[in-house]
């Protein structure tokens, strides 16, 4: 036989448990929905152009690289860009970054021309990309007799962002 006071205490305890459970459930759901995740990988991490006669090889083609993009828990737009940290350098000699272009496939990967002053779009979309998509990117260098002899180098940066 329970007293009215004990019965009231038991009901209050149940209510607190219920509040905690509901709050925890909502918090977990909210966390799961909003945990946006972006994953980007570039392999290999080197792009090499071999020396060639500009007359017979006006465009030097590098081996393709694979750019892997994965976007999770995203409801808006996402963008993948690439930008050179500067012109290609060999001591005091330079090759303008804009002499490098690329072709990329499949869509949403797109072709473009490298720049040192602005990030150039290489892929974009909306929502999720899951599982990851792999783009094959082939860089091309406009060959010229005007280039000084040497080994030129520069870092290019791929950036995946959303929104």
């Amino acid at each position: 036989m329970t007293t009215p006071r004990a019965h009231h205490r038991r009901r209050a305890g149940c209510a607190i448990v219920r509040i905690t459970a509901v709050a925890l459930t909502v918090w977990l759901q909210a966390s799961w929905v909003t945990a946006q995740k972006l994953t980007l990988a570039v392999t290999p991490s080197t792009v090499s152009f071999a020396s060639a006669d500009p007359d017979t090889t006006p465009t030097i083609v590098a081996a393709p690289i694979t750019v892997s993009v994965r976007v999770q828990s995203n409801s808006g737009a996402w963008h993948l860009t690439v930008q050179a940290n500067g012109d290609l350098l060999s001591g005091g000699a330079t090759i303008d970054a804009t002499q490098v272009s690329w072709t990329a496939a499949p869509p949403p990967f797109q072709n473009g021309t490298l720049s040192k002053v602005a990030a150039q779009p290489i892929a974009s979309g909306t929502g999720n990309v899951n599982p990851a998509i792999n783009g094959s990117v082939v860089f091309r260098l406009a060959n010229s007799w005007n280039y000084s002899a040497g080994i030129y180098s520069q870092t290019i940066v791929f950036t995946l962002s959303a929104p």
């Binding site: 009901r11 209050a12 209510a15 219920r18 509040i19 509901v22 709050a23 909502v26 918090w27 759901q29 909210a30 966390s31 929905v33 909003t34 945990a35 946006q36 995740k37 972006l38 980007l40 990988a41 570039v42 290999p44 991490s45 080197t46 792009v47 090499s48 152009f49 071999a50 020396s51 006669d53 500009p54 007359d55 030097i60 690289i65 050179a84 290609l88 060999s90 001591g91 005091g92 000699a93 090759i95 490098v100 007799w145 005007n146 280039y147 000084s148 002899a149 040497g150 080994i151 030129y152 180098s153 520069q154 870092t155 290019i156 940066v157 791929f158 950036t159 995946l160 962002s161 959303a162």
Partner: protein, 166 residues
Amino acid sequence: MRIRSVIVAAVFIGAAQASPALAQPQSATATMTVSVSTSAKLTISSSTLTFADANPDLVPQIAPAQGALSITAKARATDNAQVVLTVQADDDLRSGLQVIPASAITWTASGTGFASGTLSKTAPVTLGQWTGSGSRTGSQTLAFRNLWTYATGTYTCVLLYTLSGP
């Protein structure tokens, strides 16, 4: 209590919708390298020059039948290095035992970096000079000094053009 639980849940939902957890932009880098080797390529419009016989009084300087030579000198050199185009005769003009000095042939040139000169068998003579890599085009108009003193005959020699860098 039921009312309180609904309120708590609404607060959590509202908070979740007001500040979604956006991921930071992700970056990946690649190193780009370009190899440019030293090289040179010389193109001359004709490999033969023929100076026809002529009256020295009327034609003191004989132009070749092929006209002016069109020359393209392409070179890849290290930064700011000198690129030089020279020409040299392997010998005097000879017809059996008869000799006409190589210096009887002179030329004028046009095009940036190209220069006029007189042929020599003893040393290369500069026909063009430039700084650094590039493709240069010009013309060389040769002339043969015609004299009554030359013995009759057909004279020949070989001209060697050399494009070089460091």
